[in-house]
Structures are given as C-alpha cells and as structure tokens.
Point group: C2
Chain length 197, copies 2
C-alpha cells in the first residue's frame, strides 16, 4: 500500500468514530497531516489530556475531570430536583437548554431483558440512595420514548412514587416543527395533551 | 457550561475536521470518552506518532514517514512514467486502483491567478528536473476537470511536450454509471471519445 502503515493505522482508528467512515476518516487524516504543527499535534495532546483526566462523576455518572462533576460539585444545584437521563449526551442536551437548575442521574442505558441489563447495571440503587441523601423532592424522568426507555421509566416510577413527586418531559410538537413532517404518534400525543390557550 | 473545559476544547478541535461539525464532534468525543482505555488513549498516541513522523516526500510530495515516500524509495516504480496529480488524496485514489506502476508528482494545488499560485508554488520546476533525472518518457496528467485544473494541464503540456509523451486520463461514463444521472458535459465527452466495439 502507498500510505505508510502509521498513517494507515490512524485512518483505521478514526474510521471507528461514529459519523466517520473509511472515506471521511482518510479525508480528515489527510487534512490533519497537512496541518501537522497547527492542528494534528495540538489535537493529539488534547486527546491524551482528556484520556488521562476524564472520569465518570462518582455521584451522577456525568463525564468530568474530577471525582465529582461540575454540577454535583456546585451546591447551588442541590435544589431538590433530580433529572434522570439515559446518557451523558442527554445530560449535555438538557444543559444546553439551560433551564434546569437541579442535578442529574445518568443511567448509562435502559433496562433490557434481552441484553440482561437490570437495575444494578443502571445504578438504580445509587439513585434511590441519592433521593434520601440529597433531600430530593422531584424526580424528572427524561428517558427516551422507546420500548426499553418507557419500561425503565415505569420501573423507576414504581420504585420512586412513594418517596418523591414524579414528572416526565412533555411530549408534543417540537418548536418550529411542521405538522406535515411529524409522525402520527407525536400528533396523537400532542392532541391528547392539548392545553387551553 | 457543564462539560469541563478540557473536553469542551477537544470537541471544538474535532469540530474543525472536514466531515465533522459541532454535533458530530460532540458525539465522537462522548464515544471516545466512554472508551478511554480502548480507543481514546491509543488514538491520541497514534495521532502524536503521526504528528511526529509524517513528512512530505522531498521528491514527489506524497506523505510518508521518511525523506522519500515508499513509492519514490522503490526502484521498481522508476518505469519511465510519472503521473501528475493535484493532491495526496488523488495519489492515494490512483494507488487504490492499483494499476499504475510508475511514480507520481503531487502539485499540491493548481495554477490560480486569483490566489496568486504560480508554477514555483506548485513545484513545477522540480517536476521538470525530475523528467530528466529519472529518465521519464511519459507524463500522465491526472488533474481535476475544473477551470484551474485544465489551465494547469495546458501550462504543463506547454512545458513538457518537447521532452515527454503527454497523456491524460480518459473522460467518459463511470463504470456502473447510469446515463440518466450523468451531467451533459460527461455524456458529450463520452460520445465524442466513443470507441469501436
């Protein structure tokens, strides 16, 4: 092959990233190799820094660079609300909206009989302990609207309903969404949850 | 912001890669952070290795890890043919086809009055020197079918026609291509260059 094995190996590794395939990985690597000083070196060092320092928050499962993530370390976020999400990406999406001022709990997955994922694998006992430790009054379930996501939400509701107020994200028409492009399920949910003007 | 600055910075750097934007960079970084030992660390080290060792071949401009790229270092490839390409990506594409057994010359761009790119910037004097040094008999111009690409091809033809046989890649219908999806220019070129069966 023409590419030296070191570069070929880097392309193979980049091609494993979500959103990149062999072609786009090759393009990205050529782009980087043409900018060795300005981009490739700094990117490699930043990656190594993150590889060395990133860790899951021991309390909520968010990704941070310390034992407690910035949210769990911030006393102002202990407002009695906890938002239960499936993934760290979901947590970041909630934070981008910037409205929720409580804390999170990242399950890291959903209950799945097929994949043998039970409550322990998802850290649900830890969540139950946090409800008491952090004097949580409201648990907001922000879980995906998939079968496994809803199974998990029901299970959590069973476990939590005696101890906290339970809420879940509203379902309906997205802001800026056109009815014509929405699936029937979303339209049905939005109609059933209609509100007086 | 929720993301620690180190991770935020890595996402920003990844988002500058071609084919990735802020969203897909975030997704890729989350994917990597969840696989710190298995993927992020090795990828960082491989990137650093490439940053430290990759260099342009001093003869042809291909990317390699030594002063001469594997093709220029291989005496069997000095077969009197030289293929002139615009970019290293084009060179790799030619190599993937696996048919051409000569050497390459990477211009690194095309002549462009607007961008003040002249023959020196493209290493054309080096190419002319190589024609003599390496006893080249045939120069295959594999330049893009853009205005600048064709201007460059004409300029090279002027410079080289007294010394070597000049050829260019055939234009026509791609293998597996359907006429219905081809532009008019390609169909016209393929018709004019039709061959007896």
């Amino acid at each position: 092959m023409t590419q030296p094995t070191e570069i070929e190996r880097l392309i193979e590794m980049m091609a494993k990233l979500p959103g990149l395939g062999p072609r786009s990985a090759r393009r990205a690597v050529l782009h980087l190799v043409a900018r060795r000083e300005g981009q490739l070196g700094p990117l490699a060092r930043q990656m190594q820094l993150v590889a060395d320092t990133a860790q899951a928050c021991e309390r909520c499962g968010n990704i941070g660079t310390a034992a407690l993530c910035p949210i769990c370390a911030d006393p102002a976020r202990a407002n009695g609300q906890i938002c239960v999400v499936e993934t760290v990406a979901d947590l970041w999406a909630m934070e981008r909206a910037g409205v929720f001022r409580g804390r999170y709990h990242v399950l890291g997955g959903t209950l799945s009989a097929l994949d043998a994922v039970g409550p322990e694998e998802l850290g649900i006992p830890t969540l139950l302990a946090r409800i008491d430790d952090e004097a949580v009054r409201e648990a907001i379930l922000a879980l995906p609207a998939t079968v496994d996501g809803q199974t998990t939400a029901h299970y959590l509701a069973d476990q939590l309903e005696a101890r906290v107020t339970l809420t879940s994200l509203a379902q309906g028409v997205p802001i800026g969404g056109e009815l014509d492009f929405l699936d029937d399920g979303t339209i049905t949910a939005a109609l059933e949850a209609r509100k007086p003007l």
